[in-house]
Amino acid sequence: MEPVLSVENLSVRFPGRAGDITVVDDLSFSLEAGRSLVIAGESGSGKSMACQTLLGIAPGSARVTATRIGWRGRDLQKLSQEDWRGVRGAEIAMIFQDPTAALNPLITVEHQIVDAVRAHRRCSRDEARARAVEVLGMAGFPDAAQRMKSYPSELSGGLRQRVAIALALANAPSLIIADEATTNLDVSIQAQIVKLLRELQKKLGMALIFVTHDLGLAAEIGDDLLVMYAGHAVEYGPARGVLADPCHPYTRGLLRSAPTLKSSRDNPLVPIPGQPPQPGSIGGGAPFRSRCPVSVAGVCETARPGWSEAGPGHLVACHRFAQDGRRGLP
């Protein structure tokens, strides 16, 4: 099937004292209608920045380059301001990591959703209000008809997050980008929202990009999984294949440090030793080299690893794996 979204060689740089600092480095991925991509990885590895470029809202100081950001036959890089108004919030909607920023503190929840609906659709206020109740209900916002008259400051963190989810759903977009959208929700609501997003994907053919640190959630919601480290994609493929046989030493380190319900202090969690590199300090070598237990002498210091195939559609960017199929770390 033809992908609805195809990102080719996306890079994001910020000007720094000693030249540009690259925070997203040559990222490529694609997504078909009705499918979901989970992006996981290191804190600060460029996940939010990559998502923001897809909506044309990267910070003003960011320099975004890409061969192409294909969206339903168009290149998002070539859209005019006018074109963007028809895409942003209508075709592509984003649920931000920071729900407070997405909401206007001076306007009630009801008004914000009504305005969002009427920005893209000709309808009466009553119709828009009915839609607001509907999407708030979908997002698990309790007692919507009454409580949507609240201001954001009167809501708990998790309730605000549900409002942000409802706003994203308001215009039935073809792609939802959810940047840690369920991080502040209790697990039962989280499960409900994951189920809802899955249903919308099936019913409406919606595509989904879901950023999360929760690898358990990644296994539940992701068709595909992309693991990022220091601005680079290090492993990419079907979520189930990647999690069943993680091949990049970083992915393996992550899985090993994740708590499960059986974890206890008698059996301490093991973080990956060492610190991530400062953005911009990677140069030409492998991004994980300063912490890698299986690095290839003379290669990882100088050469960027390309993709090797580890299984059907399962790609890993690692010299060690390319050389002898070794996975490093237990």
């Binding site: 910020f14 996981a40 990885g41 290191e42 804190s43 600060g44 590895s45 996940k47 939010s48 910070p59 990591q97 920071d98 407070t100 008259k149 609240s150 009167e154 809501l155 708990s156 963190g157 998790g158 309730l159 997050q161 549900r162 840690e180 991080t183 502040n184 929700l185 209790d186 697990v187 039962s188 609501i189 989280q190 499960a191 640190h213 929760d214 690898l215 358990g216 959630l217 990644a218 296994a219 539940e220 189930r240 999690l243 380190g253 992550l254 899985l255 440090s257 994740a258 708590p259 499960t260 319900l261 974890s263 206890s264 202090r265 969690l269 093991v270 973080p271 990956i272 610190q275 400062q278």
Partner: protein
Amino acid sequence: MNAAVSTSAGVLEARNIVKTFSVRREGRTREVRAVNDVSVAVAPGEIVGLVGESGCGKTTLSRIMIGIEQPTQGEVRYGGKPVADRADWAALRRSVQYVFQDPFTALCPTMRIGKALAEPLAIHGLCAPSERDGKVARMLEMVGLHPDVARRMPNQLSGGQRQRVNLARALMVEPKILICDEIVSGLDVSVQAQVLQLLLDLKQRLDLSLIFISHDLRVIRYLCDRVLVMYLGEIVEQGETASVFDNPRHDYTRTLLAAIPDHSRALAAMADNA
């Protein structure tokens, strides 16, 4: 909590807290009861977990415990005495620090990170000005950030980086009690493991007490000595973490435990379906 513990030195306690908010809407005033007769105590070196449905009153309760919010009824006690007047609260805030749920609004947007971290040292006169930069750098490293982060502005950091700056800022004054509202949810699990280890170290070495609010029951199980489960403003279950998790008594606790995503479980389920 038995009375003997709750009167000893260093214990922070909330007794029979009730909090109602009045909300004015279309001319009418409605009462929202966010916290309903809740008591919590945390002893030196103890880690108490607070879990519960979103909107059940966890943040409100913890804000009351450091005096950002006034309870409608009930009292906060520290070291066995009620915290009553401004002087009492000022004393409490020297030893109790709070890390906010929202990492994006907690930092002043126009202040460099280094300055934001050094500020509490200056306010409390905790070390010579010449030592401040060194302390800031060490604290940043403890939470897994590069010391260069000190030169950045908050909007130049990712969500998880800001979350750690907030934690670092609270730790700068070497508090005796730390209240953490959802502080590890935005971290990758390797950094999360590192932060949890740091908190356990501080508990061991300095007898740091923690009230740890989180939706991640895996983290709660790993970190906390005791856990309190809140539902609709009330505590519905509490006890030693392992016993609550292994033998949940309240239906809501059971629902929570059943909904935890676990990659090993999800993979097993996928294999079954295949």
